[in-house]
C-alpha cells in the first residue's frame, strides 16, 4: 500500500487498549493542569468582556459600533462570515473525507467537528447582535403569527437563516451521533458513580452490540451524506447575502465557489491552529501525526490558490465588464483608504500561503502554526475588505463615507475568540478529543494490513 511509504496516520505499536487509555486518560485520570486552567481563565475573561460589550450594545443600540450610512454593515457581518467559514473545515473533514475513505481524518475529525459547532455558535451570535432590534429576531423565522406576516423570501438573509440553522442542526447531530460509542466507553471507564451517571445518560444506552454498531454505521454514513452538500451550500448562501445586492464588489456570480474555497481555507488554518498545540500539550503526536498536518497544509495550499484565483478573477471581471463603478471599486480597494487592509489580505492569503509548496515547511509544526495564524488574519481581513470597501464608496460620491471599528467592535470580536476558546477548553476536559472508536478501528485495520 502506498500509505505505508508515507508518514503513518498513527504511530506503530498501539492496540485497542492503549488507544483507549491514551485518549480517555486525558479526560478521566489526568489531573487538571495549570496550563489548562490558565488558558481557560484567559478565554473566560475574554468571554466576560464580550458579555459586557453585548450588554452595553443591548442597552444603547448598534450605534456603539462604527457602522454608519453608507457602511451599514461592519464587524458583525465580517465576524459572522469569518466564523462560519472556520466551521466548514470540520464538516469537510468529517463528512467529505469520510465518504472519500480518507483514513487520516480519523484522529482529527472529533475536535474538528467540535470546532465547527463552536465556530457556528460564535457565528450565530453576530447576525442577531447586528440587528437594530435584536429582540424581534424571530421575525426572520416563518411561523404563523397574528400579523399574518411571513419572511420576505426574496431576501438572501432569510435563506441565510435556513442555511445556518440547518448547518447547526446537522452538525450537532452528526457530532453527537459520532460521540455515542466514545461516551459509552467513558461511562465504562469512569471511576466514580457520578461521572458514570453523566456519561451514561449522554450515551443513550449504548451497549456496543453488533446491531448497535450496524445501525450506527448506517446513520453515520447517512449523516455524512447529508452534511456533505452543506459544506458547499452554507457558504454559498452566505455569499449570496452579498451577491444578490447591487453593490459593486458584492454583485458577482463568482462569490459562491470563492466563498466556499475561502471557508475551507480558513477552516483548515483553524484546525492546524488547534491541532498543533493539542498534540503537543497532550502528547498526542502518535495520533495526530506529521502526516495529518501535512495533509491539512496541502488542502490549505489548494484552497488558498482557489481564493487567489478568485481575487484575480474579480479584478479581471471589473476590467472586462467596463463598468465604471466596478472599475472604481477595484482600484479603490487597491489604492484607496483601505489599501493597507487589501494588501494585508493579499500578503497573508496569497503570499504566505505559497510557502506551503515546500515539504520542509509543511512538515514543520511550528512554522505551520504561524502560517495558519497568518491565514486566519488574512481571511478575516478579506471579509472586512469585502464588506467595508464595497460599501464605503459606491454609486454617488456625495454619499461616500469611511468606517472604523470602535472599541466595542473590537471587544466583541476578541470576546468571540474567548467564547470559542472557552468552549474548546471545556470540550478538551470533558469529552474525548479524538474519536476512540474510529481510532480502534484504524489501529485494527493498520495491524491487519501490516500482517
Amino acid at each position: 500500500m502506498n500509505a505505508q511509504l508515507e508518514e503513518p496516520v498513527v504511530a506503530p505499536g498501539y492496540d485497542n487498549a492503549s488507544v483507549t487509555k491514551k485518549i480517555t486518560d486525558v479526560v478521566l485520570t489526568r489531573p487538571v493542569h495549570r496550563g489548562w486552567l490558565a488558558g481557560l481563565a484567559v478565554a473566560f475573561a475574554l468571554l466576560m468582556m464580550m458579555n459586557f460589550a453585548i450588554g452595553w450594545l443591548l442597552l444603547k443600540g448598534v450605534g456603539i459600533w462604527g457602522v454608519n450610512v453608507p457602511v451599514a454593515w461592519g464587524f458583525a457581518i465580517t465576524n459572522f462570515v469569518w466564523w462560519i467559514g472556520i466551521g466548514h473545515a470540520g464538516t469537510f473533514i468529517s463528512a467529505i473525507l469520510l465518504l472519500l475513505h480518507q483514513d487520516w481524518r480519523t484522529s482529527i475529525n472529533r475536535f474538528a467537528e467540535a470546532m465547527t459547532l463552536f465556530a457556528v455558535a460564535c457565528a450565530g451570535l453576530f447576525p442577531l447582535l447586528h440587528l437594530g432590534r435584536p429582540w424581534v429576531f424571530y421575525w426572520l423565522l416563518p411561523y404563523p403569527d397574528t400579523m399574518g406576516m411571513w419572511p420576505q423570501w426574496r431576501s438572501a438573509l432569510v435563506w441565510d437563516v435556513f442555511a445556518v440553522g440547518t448547518y447547526l442542526t446537522v452538525s450537532i447531530i452528526f457530532w453527537y451521533v459520532g460521540l455515542l460509542p466514545d461516551v459509552a466507553t467513558m461511562r465504562d471507564r469512569a471511576a466514580s458513580k457520578r461521572v458514570q451517571m453523566i456519561y451514561g445518560i449522554l450515551a443513550l444506552g449504548w451497549r456496543g452490540s453488533a446491531r448497535h454498531w450496524k445501525r450506527f454505521h448506517i446513520v453515520y454514513l447517512l449523516l455524512a451524506g447529508l452534511a456533505t452538500p452543506l459544506v458547499l451550500s452554507v457558504h454559498s448562501v452566505v455569499s449570496m447575502d452579498f451577491a444578490i445586492a447591487i453593490v459593486p464588489g458584492w454583485h458577482s456570480t463568482i462569490f459562491p465557489p470563492y466563498f466556499v474555497a475561502g471557508a475551507i481555507f480558513s477552516g483548515f488554518a483553524m484546525v492546524l491552529t488547534l491541532a498543533i498545540p493539542i498534540r503537543k500539550f497532550y502528547h498526542l503526536e502518535d495520533f495526530i501525526t506529521i502526516r495529518h498536518l501535512e495533509n491539512c497544509a496541502k488542502i490549505m495550499l489548494a484552497t488558498g490558490l482557489m481564493v487567489a484565483h478568485g481575487y484575480i478573477t474579480e479584478g479581471f471581471m471589473a476590467w472586462y465588464s467596463d463598468d465604471k463603478f466596478e472599475i472604481y471599486l477595484t482600484l479603490n480597494r487597491m489604492f484607496g483608504p483601505y489599501a493597507p487592509a487589501y494588501w494585508l489580505l493579499i500578503f497573508c492569503n496569497v503570499g504566505v500561503n505559497q510557502l506551503l509548496w515546500f515539504k520542509k515547511i509543511r512538515t514543520n509544526p511550528a512554522v505551520l502554526f504561524v502560517i495558519a495564524l497568518f491565514i486566519q488574519v488574512g481571511m478575516w481581513t478579506e471579509r472586512y475588505v469585502i464588506v467595508i470597501t464595497s460599501l464605503h464608496r459606491d454609486f454617488l460620491p456625495s454619499a461616500w463615507g469611511i468606517f472604523h471599528g470602535t472599541r466595542w467592535d473590537w471587544m466583541t470580536l476578541i470576546g468571540s475568540l474567548g467564547l470559542f476558546a472557552s468552549l474548546f477548553f471545556l470540550f478538551l476536559r470533558l469529552l474525548p478529543a479524538i474519536s476512540i472508536s474510529e481510532m480502534r478501528d484504524l489501529v485494527h485495520k493498520k495491524s491487519e494490513s501490516a500482517r
Binding site: K60, G61, V62, G63, I64, G66, V67, N68, V69, P70, V71, A72, W73, H130, L131, G132, R133, P134, V136, F137, W139, L140, M149, W150, P151, Q152, R154, S155, A156, L157, V158, V161, D241, I244, A245, I246, V247, K324, Y328, L391, R393, D394, F395, L396, P397, S398, A399, W400, G401, I402, F403
Partner: protein, 942 residues
Amino acid sequence: MSPVRSHWRSLEELARTDAFEEMLHREFPSGASELPNEWSRRQFLKLMGASLALAGATSCTRQPLERIVPYVRQPEELIPGQPLFFATALTLGGYARGVLVETHEGRPTKIEGNPQHPASLGASDVFMQAELLALYDPERSQAVIHRGQISTWDALLAELTTAAQKWKANGGAGFRLLTRHETSPTFLDQIQRILARYPGAKWHEYEPLAGTSPGARYHFDKAEVIVSLDADFLSSGPASLAYAKQFAAARRPNGAMNRLYVIEPTPSLTGAMADHRIVMRSAEVEQFAEQLASGRESKIAAAIGADLERTAGRCIVIAGDSQSPAVHAAVRTLNETLGNVGVTVDYTPAHTAPRDLRELVSDVNSGTVDTLLIVSGNPAYDAPADFEFAKLLQTIPRVIHCGLYHDETAELCQWHVPETHALESWSDARAFDGTATIVQPTIEPLFAGRSKHELLAALLEDASAGSYDIVRAYWQKEQAAPDFENTWRKALHDGVVSAATVASGSAPPSIAAQTPAVPSSRLQLIIRADERVYDGRFANNAWLQEFPDPLTKIVWDNAARVSPATAARLKLENGDIVNLKFRGRSVRAPIWILPGQADDCVTVNVGYGRTRAGSVGDGVGFNAYALRTSDALWGGAGLEIERTGDTHELVTTQQHWNMEGRDQVRVGTLAAVQSDATAITRTGEPPPAHDETLYQNVAYHGHAWGMAIDLNTCTGCGVCTIACQAENNIPIVGKAQVRAGREMHWIRVDRYYEGGLTNPQMLHQPVPCMHCENAPCELVCPVAATVHSSEGLNQMVYNRCIGTRYCSNNCPYKVRRFNFLEYDANQFEQPATRKLMRNPDVSVRSRGVMEKCTYCIQRINAVKIDANKANRPIRDGEITPACAQACPADAIVFGDINDANSRVAKLRASPLNYGLLAELNTRPRTTYLAKLRNPNPELEHA
C-alpha cells in the same frame, strides 16, 4: 424692632444674636425671604408647579376675549385631528416674512410661507422653518431676573414707575432705548409716544447685519441680464425668497432664459447659480464697478458691459450689502443710464433712520446715560468689537434687557425680562416692500414671557394693556373705518393688511464708516452672515446647527475660509487652527479650504462662539464678532494669519466633492439644448428597457406619484432639508454622530464641483428617496418592512423593521437613515416642551429602525381622504410635500405621473429629464431636470 424691649423669650433674644435673628426670620417669613439664593432647577420647577396650581384657582375670573382667526377654514369648533392654519409673520433683520402656521389642537407644528405675502410668496427659508424649534426651546428665558435673582414683573413695574417719575421731571434725560431694526408699526408708534413724552430720551437701533445698500427693489423676473457685484440676493436679505422666485421664473428655458454674472470674492449661493462667476478680491470690486460704468478696460468688463447695453432696460445691476457706498452709487448710475430704473429696479427714497449705536456708545462714555432699555438685541455679543459694549453695559446704572434668552447681554444687565416668541404674542411687522402683517399668536406663551409692546406700554404707564389691545388699538386708529372688525378679521385671515402698504419700511441705520488707517497686508478679511445661525440669534437652534452649510457642508461649526492657493502658500490644511489678527484684535479659528474663494481673502461667518446661548449653542465655533470693528463691519485689508499648530475637527455631511466622471448632475448650455433638445440627457448611459427583469412589470392604475427636481432653478439653499425635518419629526443627532456618518436628514442637498480649484462651477442636487419602481431596498429586506404601494410609493413599515440595514446597503442613492441609537430622546431634545412640537401625523421612530423620505405620505393621505369625501378627483398641485412647499425656486414638483396633464408628468416628458443612476434599472420616480447654463459666447470661448 424697637430698641427698647420690655419682654423677652430667651437669652438669645435678649442678646439679639445673629442666629436668633435668622430663626425669627425663618419662623415668620414675610414674603420670599425663604427662597435660597442658589436656585436649582428642581426647586424652580416645584415653585412653578405650585404657582400654576394657584393660577388655576384664580381662573374663575373671566379673561378678556382675544380672537385669532384661522386661515383656511373657520370652523364652528376645532375638529380634533384636523390642523388649523393661522397667518402671521416672522421677522429677520426686522423685516416680516409672512407665514402660515399649522397648529394641531392648539400646538404649532409646522411653519409654511404665506402665498399671499410678498416677501414669502408661499416659500420659506431655513430660519422660518427653524423658528418652530426656537418656540419650543426649553432653554428660552422663563422668568424676570433682577441682578441674577428671579424676580417678578411687578417688581420691574415698580422700578419703572419710580424711574418714570424722575423722567417726567427731567424730560427723560439719561433714558435710552436700544432696539434691533424694527418695522412694527405699533412698536414704532409706541416709541414715538415715549419720545414725545420724554423729549430727553433717545432711541437707538442696532441691527448687526444691516447692509449699506439704499432702499431698492428689484424685479428679477423682468431682467434678461443680471450683474451682481458681490450681492447674494438669492439667499440673503429680506426679499431673498421673493427674488429667488422671480429669478427662477426667468431661469426656466421655455422662454428666454436669463443670464447671471456674479462678481464676488467668496462663494455664495448666488455665485453658484451664475453663468459667469468672476472671482475678485472684494477691494477690486469697486474698481470693476467703475470699469463697468465707464472705462471697460478689461475684457470681462467690456463683454459684460456690451451684454448690459444689448439688454438696456431689461437688465439689473445689483451691489451687495457689504460693498461700499461708492459701489452702490456706481451701480445706481449704471441702472439709471441703462434705463432700468422704474422697469427692473425701483429706488425708494431714503428714510430718516433712528440714531445708531455709535452715538449711544459716546453718550455712555460721557456718562449721560442712566437707564438703557434693550429690546430683543444681544449687543454685548454682536456689537462691533471696538465699542467694547460688554464693558460699557457695566458702567450704566440701570440696564433692562428684554429678550428670548438669558444671553450674554442679559448676563450683564440688572434686569432681564423674558420676551415672548413671535408665535406666542400679538404684534405686527412690515415686509421689505412695506406690506404690513398682523402677527397673531398661535399658542399661549409657554413661559412667563412679555411682549415688547407690553414692555413699552409699561413705560407709557399703561402696564395693564395686553399686546392684543395695543396692536388692535393702533390699527383701529390707523384704519378708522366703520367696519373695522371686518377689516381686522380679513387682515388676520389673509396675513397681510391690505390698505396699509406704505412706500417702504425704513432702512436700518448702518454705523457710519470712518476711513480707517489700513495697515499694509496682503490678506483681506471678509465678514459674512451665517447661512445657519444668521447673526448668532439661532445659535441655540439644533436644527440649524446640524443643517449643513450650503457651501461647505460643515455642521456644528464655522470656519475661516481660504482659497486653495492661499492655503498652499500659507501651508494650511482643513482644520488647522490659526490666529486671525485683524487691526489689533485676534481670534482663533479653524481653516476650511474653499474652492472658488478669491486668493488672499479669508471669509469668516459671525454668529458662533456664543458663551451664553444655551446648551446647544455654547462653545460651538469661534466668535468672528471679535474681529468686527465699526470701521470695518464687513472686513477689509490688514489681516494676518498666524499658525498655531493646533487642529480642530470640522465635521461635514459630504466628504467627496468630485463627480468622479459619473453624471449625477447633468449640465449643458442653453445653446446646445436649443439646437438639440436631448443634447444633455443623451450623454448619460440610457436606462435599460422595461422588460429587463425576471419579475413581471407592475402596472400602476390610479395614481402613480412622482417628483421632478429642476436643477436649473435649485439654488441649493437647503430649506427642503429643514422643512422635511420639521414635518417628519426627524431627530437631531449631534456633532459626534454626524462625524460617525449618521445624520438623519431625509432629503440632503449634494454639492459637487466641476472645473479647477480656483473657480469651479458649484452644482447642487437635492436627493430625497427616489421611490424606485424596481427598488433594490425592497428585495433584500428579510421581513418585508419596506414594500411598494399600489401607487408606486416605496414605503417603510417602522413597526416591522428589525434593523438588518441591508436596505441601506443596497440603496444606490444612500437616502435611507438608520436610528443607530435612541436619537429621539437625546440631550438636544428634552421631552418637556418638544413633545408639543411633534407632527401628530408622523410616527416618531425609535432606536433600531430604518427610516427615509415618504413623499410626505401623511399629506398625500390627507388630500386623498378629503377628495374621497367630496367625491372628486385629486387636483394637480393639491398635494405638496414639505420640501416642495418650502422651496423658494419651485424647483421641486410633485404629482401624479399617470395624469398626463399634471405638472410633474409634463416635466418628466421634458427632454431635460433624467433619472439618477437610471442605468441600474431602478426606474426612479424622482427624476431630475438637467442644469442649464446660458453663457455669454464672448466670454465662453475666451
